[in-house]
């Protein structure tokens, strides 16, 4: 067996997949297609089904219903060790009784690769993760970041067409995470394999991925690029999970192509039509809001105006962050360029924005799903 360095990424087709544990449904009728060579992230809070999906693709758990196809081949009955998929775990899962080189050589040994070819491939893989001088060390002698690089080398040394990563940077500190994120991107470009990356960190997903699938309660809420998810969330959950946001709740009234929402006694316009009679909300991004003195009125198309009181003011260097309390008690976060004379805490202000910058969404009851 020879190993070609330029492997082509595999396509994954997940069709109507469910996974139940007794009466608990971990995954409920999920369908998703991952394109060859794509970097796809599964994003969601813990227990949302993203890791379950990854385990199903890897073959660590059995499907309850549905089908998973890898390059148009159903893999439901293929045992994990025959799927030829590389997996990187959050807990590294390096074999403690083997040296770095032995760890990386392990998948090649299982595939009966000849010794010389093995050594060459191991060297190459270790070079890719910049650990070529550590081959004789043991995992316990490496730092967390180094261990995860070894795990990465081990998962890609057999040039799998698909690489799965389950929160691989979850155990590392922020700085190291950022360095490794860049490395993972580079490796993805060099390998050309399809990457599926599970994370609960939306920033990480935004940095790394071509597309992101947002998981919630065993379902996929939305699939799209980071930009799409941020600017055009289809559900309130997605809108709140990705990026910072504020939510205005009120009674809605369809008004031609737009919808009017009465929030704390003020009528606000949002683009699009409400879906059904259920409660709706307006989702606002902090950078789209202007904080202005009460009575300033509409300027530059910012025709949605609502009164509030400054509750908190944070100086962030290039920007300022205001937390404004509305008459109905809800809080709105606004980010503005640094002002020479910021509004004091307790002062009455107006929040203004262009109606098309707000997103009208059905209220699915979700509240901010993550911190910061």
């Amino acid at each position: 067996m020879t190993l070609n360095t330029a492997s082509k990424g595999a396509a994954i087709d997940i069709r109507g997949v469910s996974k139940t544990y007794g009466s608990f449904t971990a995954l409920d009728d999920v369908s998703l297609r991952v394109e060859p060579g794509e970097f796809m992230s599964f994003l969601g809070p813990s227990g949302s089904g993203k890791t379950t999906t990854l385990n199903l693709i890897a073959g660590f758990t059995d499907l309850s219903a549905g089908e998973i196809r890898l390059d148009d081949r159903s893999i439901g009955n293929v045992p994990a060790h025959k799927r030829n998929i590389g997996v990187v775990f959050q807990h590294y899962a390096l074999f403690p009784h083997m040296s770095v080189a032995q760890n990386v050589a392990y998948p090649l040994k299982q595939r009966g690769v000849a010794k010389t070819e093995r050594a060459r491939a191991v060297d190459q893989a270790l070079q890719k993760v910049q650990l070529e001088h550590f081959s004789h060390r043991f995992p316990s002698e490496l730092s967390g970041g180094q261990q995860q690089r070894v795990a990465l080398a081990r998962a890609m040394v057999f040039t799998p067409s698909l690489l799965l990563m389950d929160e691989p940077l979850g155990a590392l500190d922020k700085k190291l995470r950022e360095v490794l994120q860049l490395e993972i991107r580079r490796i993805h470009r060099e390998l050309g394999s399809t990457f599926v990356y599970v994370t609960h960190d939306q920033e990480e997903a935004l940095v790394l991925s071509d597309r992101i699938a947002v998981f919630n309660k065993g379902r996929i809420e939305q699939v799209g690029s980071g930009h799409q998810l941020y600017t055009r969330p289809e559900t309130l959950f997605v809108g709140q999970f990705i990026g910072e946001s504020s939510v205005l709740r009120g009674n809605h009234l369809t008004n031609g192509s737009d919808t009017a929402l009465t929030v704390a006694g003020t009528t606000l316009i949002a683009p699009g039509q409400a879906q059904g009679d259920g409660a709706h909300v307006i989702l606002l991004r902090p950078e789209n809001l202007t904080v202005q003195p009460t009575g300033t009125g509409a300027r530059d198309g910012a025709t949605n105006i609502i009164n509030g009181t400054v509750r908190e003011m944070l100086y962030l260097g290039a920007a300022m962050k205001y937390e404004v309390t509305l008459a109905d008690g809800s809080h709105v976060i606004a980010r503005t360029p640094t002002q020479d004379e910021p509004f004091a805490i307790g002062s009455a202000v107006e929040l203004a924005w262009n109606p098309k910058d707000g997103t009208l969404l059905a209220d699915d009851g979700s509240t901010a799903g993550h911190e910061g």
Binding site: A80, H81, F89, Q110, F138, R154, A155
Partner: protein, 262 residues
């Protein structure tokens, strides 16, 4: 330095307890060099005749060989069976694992004589009294708990996720077991095997019941010698066992230190 008095008292207490634990064991060493056939301490005179007696008297040396053979067989059987059980228990979900574990440990708790009488009754009916297989079966029963505990303790700290990782890297279950699981739980298996060997080699109660003049284990021989007369050969045997165990444990310590490096 207010702590000194309590510390001193504690140290002294521990020293006394340590002496109490160790001293009786060491008494047999001078006894084994006694010049006369007496078990008075301290012994009078010096001779190696009890060691000579041990190695030349077929009663003694033969029983040593029997015990060694039985213990080796028990070590193999109990380790294989016990390791399998420990792995099964570890992988079992829910309460079943805990229950089976508790059941497998009961041979440690059942009063020796009751078990011995029962085994004797069954062996009388099945003609297993005084047979190799009789000894091996009975001793394996008593050794299984030690293997289950030793291997189980090792499995508890073994990261089963490594097996999943191995599967993702292309290793079949069998290959995973031999390349990942086995090397990592080997310390537990080895100490289980050692415990099994010692359990069998030292077992006396059940052996006393199922023994025969033709096939006698060393502890049975020691026991009958002790109840018959004051023969310092017993002390010689004790000293030899002490020496042998010390060597094994010493090697184990050195080996263990080496292994800890990685």
């Amino acid at each position: 330095m207010k702590l000194n008095l309590p510390k001193l008292l504690l140290g002294l207490t521990c020293l006394l307890i340590a002496i109490w634990l160790v001293a009786p064991t060491l008494v047999v060493i001078p006894m084994s060099f006694a010049g006369q056939k007496s078990l008075a301490f301290p012994p009078k005179g010096f001779s190696l005749q009890w060691y000579e007696n041990f190695f030349t008297n077929p009663q003694w040396f033969g029983s040593l060989i029997v015990s060694a053979k039985v213990a080796c067989m028990v070590a193999v059987v109990a380790t294989v069976v016990g390791t399998m059980a420990a792995i099964g228990i570890e992988r079992m979900k829910g309460r079943a694992g805990g229950l089976i574990r508790a059941v497998l440990i009961t041979p440690m708790i059942v009063p020796g004589v009751v078990l011995a009488v029962g085994i004797y009754a069954v062996y009388l009916d099945t003609q297993l009294v005084g047979t190799w297989i009789g000894y091996v079966l009975a001793h394996t029963l008593l050794a299984i708990p030690f293997v289950v505990i030793a291997v189980g303790a090792n499995l508890a700290v073994f990261d089963a996720r490594l097996e999943i990782a191995a599967a993702s890297l292309g290793a079949s279950r069998l290959s995973t077991f031999f390349s990942v699981t086995l090397p990592l739980i080997l310390p537990g298996i080895l100490s289980g095997a050692l415990f099994a060997f010692v359990t069998s080699f030292d077992e006396v109660i059940v052996s006393l019941f199922i023994t025969s003049p033709q096939l006698k284990t060393l502890p049975v021989q020691i026991f009958s010698s002790m109840t018959r007369d004051a023969d310092p050969t017993v002390a010689a045997v004790g000293s030899l066992i002490f020496l042998g165990t010390s060597v094994i444990i010493g090697l184990g310590l050195i080996f263990g230190m080496k292994g800890r490096r990685t």
